[in-house]
Symmetry: C2
Subunit: 196 residues, 2 copies
Amino acid sequence: MVQDTNDVKAKILGAAKKLFARNGFEGTTVRQICEEAGVALALVSYHFGGKEKVFYALFESSIPNYATAIYTLQDPEADFSHFIHEFVRLRQTEPELINLLQQEIIMQSPRMEKLQAYVYTLWKQLRNILEAGRAKGCFQFTSLKQTLHFIIGALIFTRNVPALDDLFETTVMEENSESVDEIAACTVHFLLNGLK
Amino acid sequence: MVQDTNDVKAKILGAAKKLFARNGFEGTTVRQICEEAGVALALVSYHFGGKEKVFYALFESSIPNYATAIYTLQDPEADFSHFIHEFVRLRQTEPELINLLQQEIIMQSPRMEKLQAYVYTLWKQLRNILEAGRAKGCFQFTSLKQTLHFIIGALIFTRNVPALDDLFETTVMEENSESVDEIAACTVHFLLNGLK
DNA sequence: GTCTATACTTGGATAGAC
DNA sequence: GTCTATCCAAGTATAGAC
């Protein structure tokens, strides 16, 4: 596989990531992707075998590398903090991908079937941490299901939401350009308190 | 306007709500809507003037009636609790609508422009409550922006997510069939702790 | 007001030249 | 490997009968 091939494939993936995140899978056309990527229409089919294959290729490259951390569950609070930090980092690194994933989850799209495996291991870790914490007495909550929904919802909800920007128009510049670690620390603090 | 007209319009709205929530605006066809509603293809255009008008009609009926509560901000904790209860009730009453709204928000769809007004008043209330609580010292948080994102994310994230159901397969039946008030109380508890 | 049939547009995928 | 031109399926909206 020569260099040019990788260039084109990467350009298509980049364009698709941007457009899928913004307009959804159905709302994005192959023509848009190719125009954004600056390549001919036929190349999506040639390199990937169709629009849907491009979609899956987006996740195959990024997500599996993420959920590799092993949690001992000896110190659930530390594990929780680590998990949140990792997720916030992923969300900052790949906002479009998280955005897209969120769409597919709430739509219960037919594509979720193949994405399920990635997502499951991710949230299974979180569930294990929560249960270990409850057993050890450092977390208190009545409904595991509700608690998981709170946390996942708070984590996955995209930060780049113009519809919310209006809410900050009159605010003093108190919190612009926060670093990943600051955001993660803030998130851990909020969620950990919720578990008391 | 005779009764039959309302019946057909209601059937179309019901079908559209269900399908939009599940497949998104772009992922839903007028043919699907009409088939689901059991009416002829032409009637969407006849009664509403097109697919997009059906979409807006869905929100015009439900959302404005919601955001009418007035908050005095004398007791931010009580206001917060009331706000959460109202939202949880809305989410339980109109899960498809919240689902759809969430999609449109995170996609930053072109339709959000017309929905913005509804959404803005809703979250402006929440923002006011948070700021009042911070001023009075009953809420502590560093970033208003992050905090709003946590709460909105936790609230708006759909509860009916098959992709998450697998996470509960081995759980004992600890928390099935929770009532609206139970869920709301649980939510208030979690989020209020996060604000300490 | 509701139906069937159809016009018109757009989308995904491919054929074939280079 | 990449392009242009084209095919075919599916979409929205409308015309016209009832």
